[in-house]
Amino acid sequence: MSEENTAELVSYEIMAIIEPDVTEAQYKKHVDALKALLKKSGAEITHEQEWGKRDFAYPIKKQDNGFYVVLNFQGVPSEIVELENQLRITPFVLRHLIIKTPADYVPLEYDWDAELEEEVVKEEKKPVKKPAPVVVKAKEEEAPVEEKEEVKEEPAEEVVEEAAPVEEEAPAEEKEEAKEEVKEEPAEEVVEEEKPAKEEAPAKKEKEEVITDKASSERLSKLDEKLEELLSSDNDLNL
C-alpha cells in the first residue's frame, strides 16, 4: 500500500511568506534553503514565481509587508506531513500554504494592483411607485375647488353665461397643474435625491395658490411628508 503511494507523483503548489527586513543576499539564501527542503522530500520543481514585497491586509507577526514566493512541484504524498512540520519550525517563513492543484496546471500571472471592471454584480432596477398618491391629490384638489365654484355661483346668479366658461376653464387649469405635478415627481426620481427639496418647493407654492382651506391644506401637507419619506428612505442592502 505505502509503496504504491510513494511511486506516484502528485502536483502540489506552495506559497510562502518570507521576512521583510532582509538584504538581497540573505533573501536568496532563504529561497535556496526552501528549495533544498523540498528536494529532501523527493519533489521536482516545475514552475517558480516570485511576487516580491507586498503589503498585508492585516498585520502578521507584527509586520506589515513581506516577500511572496510561489512554487509548483510534483511530490510524494506520504512525505508532505514532514514537510509542513519542518516549515513550521523555520524562522524566516512567516506563513505557508500547500495546495493540491488540478493536473497539468500552469499558474497564470495576476496583477493584484490593477483596477477591476465593475461588471460582476447585476443591479436590479427599482420599480416606480408614484402614480397612486398623485391621483389622490388630483381628486382632492378638484373636490374643494368645485365646492368653491358652487358657493360662488349662488350669489352670482345673474352672470350665468360667464360662470359656465369659468367652470370649464377652472377644471382645465386644474388638470394642467395636476399633469405638471405628475411630470415633476417622476423627474424627481430620475434625479435621484440630488434636488428633491428645490423641486418640491415650487410644487408646494402652486398648491398653496390654488387652495386656501385649512383642512385640505393639512391633508396635502401630510401627503407631502409621506412622499419625502418614500423618496429618502430607499436604503439598499449594504452589499
Partner: protein, 70 residues
C-alpha cells in the same frame, strides 16, 4: 435549455474548468464592504463555482491577500 449563466464566469475560473484560484484578484469583487462573502442569490453564481470560490477566499484570507473583517 443549457445553463447560460456558466458562460459569464470566464475571468473567475481557471480556463477549461470550474476551479477558482485563490491568487486571482477578481475574488475581491465577491466580498462585501465589511469583508464577508457575498451570498449566491445576490451574485447569481452557479453552485459548482460558488463552492470553490468560497474555498479560494478563505485561502486568500489566510495568506494575507484579503482581510477577514474591516
Amino acid at each position: 435549455m443549457p445553463n447560460k449563466n456558466r458562460k459569464n464566469f470566464g475571468k473567475l475560473c481557471y480556463p477549461g474548468t470550474t476551479w477558482v484560484d485563490y491568487k486571482n484578484p477578481v475574488i475581491k469583487k465577491y466580498v462585501t464592504i465589511y469583508g464577508r462573502i457575498k451570498p449566491r442569490y445576490y451574485t447569481k453564481v452557479p453552485m459548482v463555482v460558488q463552492k470553490s470560490l468560497s474555498r479560494a477566499i478563505k485561502n486568500a484570507r489566510i495568506m494575507g491577500l484579503v482581510p477577514f473583517t474591516k
